[in-house]
């Protein structure tokens, strides 16, 4: 395998919960609670999970858009978490992010041209005519017309805005893109256009993607490997085919079985989980999934699962699972 472009080790982000008159810290939301993975150059790692599992926070901690509480993130050998502000800026040339909501992530008062030229100026990459040329090039790259540079974001549809968000991220020629739910706000017919665009760009520009999403079918379509998160932790990580054909963690299994299949003759056999995701402020003891786990109950191992926290271990080459019974 190629070298890891990004190495994440035991990443944690705990948000304090403040209460009362003096904003006393009454506890912590453990949004990300010990996440480790490698991102190989040129691959797409899908990071999936339900709302509140910490996938978005993980993505933002990697770029230090949110400061992690602890843990290390190494990009190409450099420790991102130890960088000073100036060094961090130069790192941001290499790592960029595309956000979910194309309506709120573009500045409504900047023309598309100024918006795309801004990162070029900040990083001292191009000015004046050179910048204009680069803007035209970026617009063409994402399938838009260079003429669009004079327009404002409100003149564009959701799918076009997402293309512009991608163009902005690509302006500084990064090597890694964190894609935070890049297609979930879009209609199906537009979603396919953006998924294809991301794929073409990855080939053309040899990009590495961390694709954060909740839609398991989209993630399967784009990913090389997939990591499943539950309550701030990765519970399973495997190459795409393995994860979808042979999921070992009971949470992954129920998650996959819950996806409605667009085929009326294959109405799915569901493993319907009972209850809701527990609060990340008070995660359950032992295995965090045990209160909802069909396997723990079935095997009569509730005592073990509620006291003994399973570590993420390699059950087959490249296939990591955090379950006692994997």
């Amino acid at each position: 395998m190629a070298d890891a472009l990004l190495q994440v080790r035991d990443l944690r982000k705990h948000f304090p919960i403040r209460r009362g008159l003096w904003s006393r810290v009454a506890g912590h939301v453990r949004a990300v609670d010990g996440v480790s993975f490698d991102l190989m150059a040129g691959e797409t790692l899908g990071l999936v999970g339900e709302s509140g599992c910490g996938k978005t926070t993980t993505g933002r901690c990697l770029l230090r858009l949110i400061e992690p509480t602890s843990g290390t993130v190494r990009f190409d050998g450099r420790d991102v978490t130890a960088l000073r502000p100036r060094e961090l800026r130069s790192l941001r040339r290499e790592m960029q992010i595309v956000f979910q909501d194309p309506y709120s992530s573009l500045n409504p008062r900047l023309t598309i041209g100024s918006m795309l030229a801004e990162p070029l100026a900040i990083h001292g990459l191009a000015r004046g005519a050179n910048a204009r040329e680069r803007v035209a090039e970026l617009l063409t790259l994402v399938g838009m017309s260079p003429d669009h540079a004079r327009r404002y974001p409100h003149e564009f549809s959701g799918g076009q805005r997402q293309r512009l968000g991608i163009a902005r991220a690509l302006a500084v020629k990064p090597r890694l893109l964190v894609l935070d739910e890049p297609v979930s706000a879009l209609d199906v017919s537009i979603q396919a256009q953006i998924v294809n665009l991301l794929r073409d760009l990855q080939r053309e520009l040899s990009l590495t993607y961390l694709f954060v999403a909740h839609d398991l079918s989209v993630v399967e379509h784009v990913s090389t490997r997939v990591a499943v998160m539950y309550l701030g932790r990765i519970v399973e990580l495997a190459p795409r085919e393995t994860l979808y054909r042979d999921p070992r963690h009971p949470y992954t299994r129920s998650l996959l079985s819950a996806v409605p299949v667009p085929d009326p003759d294959r109405r799915a056999q569901r493993i319907v989980l009972t209850g809701d995701v527990p609060s990340p402020a008070k995660p359950p003891s032992g295995c965090r999934f045990h209160p909802r786990c069909p396997l723990a109950a079935e095997r009569g191992e509730l005592a073990r699962c509620s006291s003994d926290d399973p570590t993420l271990r390699e059950v087959a080459p490249g296939h990591w699972v955090a379950c006692h019974f994997a």
Partner: protein
């Protein structure tokens, strides 16, 4: 088949805005029969939600107005009813659940009070009896310890639980029609699975008809009996769920199905429908789908296709439906390409 419970004919709901007339719903017809689930599918801006709001006459006016057509429920024209008569139908005979359970529940009343209000209003029960019914309904929709939950406020509950409360409220008076507008879109997949299962179970138990408004073709395949596909304010295809997925006769439906990434598919490019949904103030002339259609011909640019029976009760709004059926053209790849 017997008489439909609910029947829309050529319904038109337009919005009169500064930018012009938005023809959100522009001649929609379909029928809903007792005990079935009819899915109305479409992308944003297709008019599916405005259609469902029109049925209950909940479209904000101004700017919106139902400008034409009829909505018949058990033989009565809902558009001719006085507001007081309409109020007696809403929540009692036809109920609705919305996408966002947080914004559609009142944050200053307990969940119990909101369910009790419906029961007191429509069934004339006293508070004590209504409370007993509310607790019973909460248990029915799978909320644990309903005796305590009944006194909780919406913010104390999770998204899935709030959607259950909405369902309890909608079903408290055992309506014959439930309109579910994107009931699971705001929920996670594992919670979505719970809610869909619950809706199916309640539909069977109560024998009600469900009008399911959704953009999710997976949800349609798993829950619907029949499907109405909407595009640009009109129904473009109307058929049984199997026909829609197995033998569609409309290039828009075909394009939607082809653009889905599916679990278990190969790592290849997705098919796309080129372009965007048209602006509802200026729909294209002729067939509204023609600028994005891979098999559009000259006729499609000038003539408006009717929604017609293209065989065995399968309705489609396309001049070339027969050619699609015979395999003479591929509705996704376009002219001349072999099907398959």
């Amino acid at each position: 088949m017997t008489e439909p419970l609910l029947e829309l004919r050529e319904l038109k709901t337009h919005f009169f805005t500064d930018d012009g007339v938005v023809r959100a719903v522009d001649g929609v017809s379909f029928a809903l029969y007792a005990g079935e689930t009819l899915a109305v599918v479409g992308e944003s801006g297709s008019g599916k939600s405005v259609t469902s709001l029109s049925v209950l006459r909940l479209v904000a006016s101004p700017p919106g107005r139902i400008v034409g057509g009829s909505i018949r429920f058990r033989g009565r024209d809902l558009l001719a009813l006085a507001e007081a008569e309409m109020r007696a139908i809403r929540g009692k005979e036809i109920s609705m659940i919305f996408q966002e359970p947080m914004t559609s529940l009142n944050p200053v009343y307990t969940c119990g009070e909101q369910i009790m209000e419906v029961i007191e209003l429509h069934e004339g029960l006293g508070r004590a009896a209504a409370r007993v019914r509310a607790i019973e309904m909460l248990r029915h929709v799978g909320i644990s310890s309903p005796e305590q939950r009944v006194d909780e406020y919406p913010h104390q509950m999770s998204g899935g639980m709030r959607q259950r409360v909405m369902i309890a409220m909608a079903l408290a008076c055992k309506p014959s029609v439930l309109i579910a507008d994107e009931p699971t879109t705001a929920l996670d997949v594992t919670i979505q699975a719970q809610i869909l299962e619950l809706l199916q179970k309640l539909r069977r138990e109560l024998g009600m008809a469900v009008l399911l408004i959704t953009h999710d073709l997976g949800v349609v395949a798993e829950t619907a009996d029949r499907v109405a596909v909407m595009y640009a304010g009109q129904v473009v295809e109307y058929c049984g769920v199997r026909e829609a997925f197995r033998s569609t006769r409309h290039p828009y439906t075909a394009g939607l199905l082809a653009s889905l990434p599916r679990l278990g598919d190969e790592h290849q490019r997705l098919r796309v429908i080129p372009g965007n949904v048209p602006n509802p103030v200026r729909f294209p002339a002729g067939c509204r789908f023609h600028p994005r259609c891979p098999i559009a011909v000259e006729r499609c640019r000038s003539e408006v296709p009717a929604l017609r029976d293209v065989g065995g009760g399968h309705l489609a709004r396309c001049f070339r439906a027969e050619e699609i059926a015979s395999g003479a053209v591929d509705p996704v790849a376009g002219e001349g390409a072999p099907r398959g």
